[in-house]
Symmetry: C2
Subunit: 450 residues, 2 copies
């Protein structure tokens, strides 16, 4: 496979062809290109060019392209298409992708588009999916799946399956239901093929099947599927009826988004923004954390103001406040990141107190090493052993407290059912700055006997 590479020349070339309306060349050019790659190209075009291409290419390809486009590009293209054109694109898509796109349409257009989908069964399935919250297993699942009734025999089953499989890209599993559509188990293709055609499904199916409830949290679905190495999982409603199926490709997106959210949270970005978001979106995501930092800094200033009388004699103490604040922040972020990641991976075992004791020991060890380095530096630089000692001892205390806060806060939030990721990043650095400076000056004052 020669990997696809998006280049400026390629985009320019395509723009040229569009301008000259070289339809034959364009169709030939995109003949063997994967829809995900075409989507990357279209993301680079302006709206009219993009719409031109979408109208030009085959609708079985363009429907897949639409699902892969950046949201703003897709919105612009859909705005240029008629309800009938959109309906025909949706007709080509799996129900979950179609429902996601409908969810992005203006409310007043939804009914019109749905009414124009030719396959009424498909339209009904899409409407069913619209009922589920986006952030649930129901919002993630597709209606496409292969299911057989436990009362059928193998012959009926194979016949029915063939019809159903027409609409299903990848079969993965054959689910077995009873007359009320309740999920009973699954069927192995091997057993189906090696059993006499008169055998009843009831007698050969596997009763043990993993499933998730339609209201389950997507991250929990991801955890189950990746723990048990499942490539698809059936979704059941409150009374156990089989209502859909989630496949692993949707779960990969969930896993990526979860990791990205935790990462952004740790960096002080509170909403899911991408590098290409507008300045206004970026400001909304970033400014709240910066304001938090500003308040923290102001609090630190007030605290330092309380020690102003120490200034004249012990100026050197003040020179090290950025160092103390930085170390408190760094240790806090390290501790909290390990805990947050451990919680996300279900890795945190044992009691909170054991965890805290371990973190204290770790902080003591790191603090001791760092303090020795600092002691030598300050002593050589300023030649005042007692002050140097005071700064170094304060540093150990600050590191231990910072480690404690960084460990305790996310564990505490998690116990309370709050996402511990909010405790990483600016929140921890800001509170550790304040505590760090307070501890630093208090201990230094004590040691120097001021």
């Amino acid at each position: 496979m020669t990997p696809f590479k998006l280049t400026e020349e390629l985009v320019k070339n395509i723009e040229q062809h569009i301008e000259n309306k070289n339809n034959a060349e364009l169709i030939a050019l995109f003949q063997d290109v994967h829809y995900a790659d075409i989507a990357e190209i279209i993301n680079e075009l302006d709206n009219d060019e993009a719409t031109y291409l979408i109208k030009l290419l085959d609708s079985d390809k363009t429907s897949d392209i639409l699902t892969e486009l950046d949201e703003d590009v897709r919105e612009a293209i859909l705005g240029n298409l008629s309800s009938k054109e959109i309906a025909s694109e949706l007709g080509e898509l799996d129900t979950d992708d179609a429902a996601d796109i409908i969810g992005e349409l203006p409310k007043e257009q939804v009914q019109d588009v749905i009414s124009k989908i030719e396959d009424r069964e498909h339209a009904k399935d899409i409407v069913d999916l619209l009922r589920y919250a986006e952030n649930s297993a129901g919002g993630l699942m597709a209606k496409e799946l292969v299911k057989v009734n436990e009362n059928w025999n193998v012959l009926t089953c194979v016949k029915e399956m063939r019809a159903q499989a027409e609409n299903v890209t990848r079969v993965h599993s054959i689910y077995v239901v009873d007359d009320e559509d309740k999920l009973k188990g699954r069927l192995s293709l091997k057993d189906l093929l090696t059993t006499s055609t008169k055998t009843h499904i009831k007698d050969i199916f596997i009763k043990n099947v993993d499933s998730v409830n339609v209201n389950e949290d997507p991250e929990e679905v991801a955890r189950i599927m990746s723990k048990y190495d499942l490539e698809a999982i059936p979704v059941i409603d409150e009374i156990g009826r089989l209502v859909g199926r989630i496949t692993i490709d949707d779960i990969i997106d969930v896993i990526k988004e979860e990791a990205e959210r935790d990462y952004q949270m740790a960096a002080g970005i509170s909403q899911d923004v991408e590098a290409d978001a507008s300045i206004w979106e970026l400001t909304r995501a970033r400014l709240p954390w910066l304001i938090l930092g500003l308040f923290g800094g102001a609090a630190a200033a007030v605290i330092m103001g309380g020690f102003e009388e120490m200034f004249r004699e012990y100026t050197v103490l003040f020179l090290f406040t950025p160092l103390i604040a930085a170390m408190a922040g760094n240790v806090g972020v390290q501790s909290s990141a390990i805990i947050v990641q451990g919680l996300a991976n279900d890795d945190i075992k044992g009691s909170i107190s054991n965890r805290l004791i371990k973190e204290m020991l770790l902080a003591l060890l790191n603090g001791f090493i760092l303090s020795c380095l600092l002691l030598v530096f300050t002593w050589v630089w300023k030649g005042d052993f007692l002050t140097s000692l005071a700064i170094s001892i304060s540093l150990i205390a600050v590191i231990v407290v910072a480690g404690f806060i960084g460990t305790f806060v996310p564990l505490f939030l998690d116990k309370r059912g709050i996402d511990p990721a909010i405790a990483t990043g600016p929140f921890i650095t800001t509170s550790n700055d304040i505590f760090g400076i307070l501890i630093y000056f208090s201990i230094a004052k004590l040691i120097l006997g001021i």
Copy 2:
């Protein structure tokens, strides 16, 4: 499905059974429990208990359990098993999992274990896999796959496939090779089943098949598979021969590990450590970044020392150094996180200079809002407008420079082929602390005309 829940009672109960050697109860207890769940339980037991269970349970179950255990637990159990026992576990595993476990054995034991694997074909495949670097497509792939020769007819093909599929848990795709074992394409199960048995494979197979080279970076494999929604991808060697297959469950681990590494890097943790790592491992991962922070803090102290004569008159300036340093750090982390994430997702388009201009505008906007807030606070607190203004104007400058550094450094590293993630976290906060403080005092000095 009742979800499995690991409880202390359950573990205690099992420990009790092991102590009393209630083998029948133990076997019954684990009868319907998934191997991934049993692994979670065993992770909680001591080594003798764990070994006892592994020896007690069926080897087709225990081999899977072994792959799911924590590395240190697995190591301890394998240490308690004879080479013959280990060989029999490996015989039950897919080649990729078996090779991973062999990679963890003491070097002197490897040959002995391999020689005791009964299925010599399987042993040969495992040995083949040991040759590949862990961090490559070859290190990730399994030898289990279904392949047919393009010169066969459908009848031969179905017969051969049946034999091959015995060893393959999930078929996904049927690969077509020529007489030299070179990958030519893939075969759709549907075409195979609906074509006359005398048809040659050559005439029905699909020539378009994605594949990756055996030396490809796992993260690139993950990118390709998730972009093209592939559930399996064939791996070819330097001359195009089909040598293995990578499945989506292995790729999920790659995606998770990549996200975790970026996250840990941003938090100043330089090696892949888990919450349960030893204090010594945690120190090795964390201390280097803390020492970097210490050097940065020392540099900041020296810089501040250069402005010592400003002390007497403008004490208030010094009270705000932690605030300035914190804001510089926060803005730098935000900017770099967006860029690093955008680069990881292939989201960063356009030139570096456009990106920098956007970030400067964003920083100006955020800086202006924050400076106004700070101006009011300082003015009210200290009643000195000119000093307050000097602090606020410096803050804008610091934020703009911090945004510039946070954007430029990861983009620059990426262009140079260096992982931009190292530029997040402590690296950015430390350098921004230093620059921030330098800019702050310089601008304040200028404005106040000292």
